[in-house]
């Protein structure tokens, strides 16, 4: 079953064509890896799918409905985009992890946060850490947990492991794996050779969004 489908998607920036007539589908429960040269439009594709930007023409479908016709807020809670360089808010980790609860008007579930922090090897005291004192890897972990506190249906990961050391990468992979096992469809963008080698479904984005499908597995 297809969960996300792009149909003849164009994306223009002023006069520049970033994506030209791009079409492809993502199957429910899939783990898709997008690769391609810098500037090919990979981040743009993920942002389009997350409805953070809209195509200049063409349509993106979610379970068969045009995403422009869905409630953008509800949609983004199901199709979650994680930024290439995440920005944390406020002063401490605590200012970030409760945010998903606040926007849903829900009580913060500390047990849930605890168990998520455990997956990434962080003690509960981690919540009180100052943002400025976090390493790049720690920031990325906070940002990821922030995105999956409420499990999304689709998780769009934009080079979330770029710049992390081996250990941090491993922890992030573990977290993503656990999310995938729970049924979330994953679309990741990466330049990392080791990630590309183990990837099952790879979609290569060439310039302006020409695609080239490869299957390793």
């Amino acid at each position: 079953m297809t969960i996300i489908e792009l149909k003849n998607v164009d994306y223009q920036m002023g006069k520049r064509t970033i994506l030209n007539n791009l079409s492809f589908g993502i199957k429910n429960g899939d783990f898709l890896t997008l690769i391609g040269p810098s500037g090919a439009g990979k981040s743009t594709i993920l942002k389009l799918i997350a409805n953070l930007i809209s195509p200049s023409s063409g349509t993106i479908f979610y379970h068969g409905s045009d995403i422009q016709k869905l409630d953008p807020i509800k949609y983004r809670r199901q199709v979650m985009y994680c930024f290439q360089q995440p920005v944390l808010f406020g002063k401490t980790v605590k200012d970030n992890l409760p945010f998903p609860y606040q926007i849903r008007n829900k009580e913060v579930d500390l047990d849930r946060l605890d168990s998520l922090l455990k997956i990434v090897d962080s003690p509960a005291e981690f919540l009180n850490k100052e943002i400025n004192s976090l390493s790049g890897g720690e920031k990325q972990r906070v940002a990821l947990i922030r995105s999956i506190v409420f499990l999304p249906k689709v998780l769009l990961l934009d080079e979330v492991t770029t710049g992390l050391d081996g250990k941090s990468k491993e922890i992030v992979h573990r977290l993503i794996e656990s999310v995938h096992r729970q049924g979330t469809t994953i679309v990741q963008v990466t330049h990392d050779q080791s990630e590309i080698q183990v990837a099952k479904n790879v979609l290569e984005i060439k310039s302006r969004g020409l695609v080239n499908e490869k299957c390793n597995g």
Binding site: A50, N51, L52, I53, S54, Q68, P72, I73, K74, R76, R77, M80, Y81, C82, F83, Q85, P86, V87, F89, F99, P100, Q102, I103, A143, R146, S147
Partner: protein, 253 residues
Amino acid sequence: MKNVTVSNLSLVLAFALVLVSIAISAKEKLGLTKDILISVIRAIMELVIIGFVLKFIFHIDTLWLTAFSTLIIIFNASWNANERNPDSHKKLWSSIIAEAVGTYVTLSLLIVSGVIKPIPMQVIPITGMIAGNEMVTIGLCYKALNESFHDLRQQVLEKLALGSDIKMASMPIIRRSIKTAMQPTIDSAKTVGLVNLPGMMSGLIFAGVNPIYAIKYQIIITFMLLSATGLGAVISGYLAYKQYFNEQMQLRD
């Protein structure tokens, strides 16, 4: 009121003061000579016209004409506040609502509490004072919104991606902008009487009113401006931030 008449000759001599600023501009090569001249000429013409219009309105003294004048003042202030908004998707009505609510609420309180009488001679200058101060506040609020949406763009995007509505995503920006906008009014309230003798009070003392009475008025004016600018900042902030998003709740470029 003998003390407050200005002879036409004094007026002409006072023009020498303008020459001082022109001389500074010329000497320092500021290139402001033309601007200064134009603004002086504009000010003279506008004030002369206003003088005659006010004389006419005070003379007719009907409620309808007074109410109409306040509308004109509010519209004019809204227009100018809107001009100060750097956002290309700005909407004039957000300024009009902010100005109208801030001004009329404050004005009503003043009239109901008997501070001023509903006569044009009191209502019109007070309306001008309220609307003018609000205009500055609203303009500051717009500028702060624009700057904050620029500085905190990534944070807003991040919140939208997490499924936040546009209000939650903009909350720190809205708060910061309202605060920035109200700061000058609060600051000047702090220094009233010590550093600056505000216009209203100076005017009353000038006209020979007992300084104790003048002070009472000034206290009221200070309260009035806090209320009006507070309302103006809050309303304009909460209306204008929405224009930074499109109908898909995406942050515009």
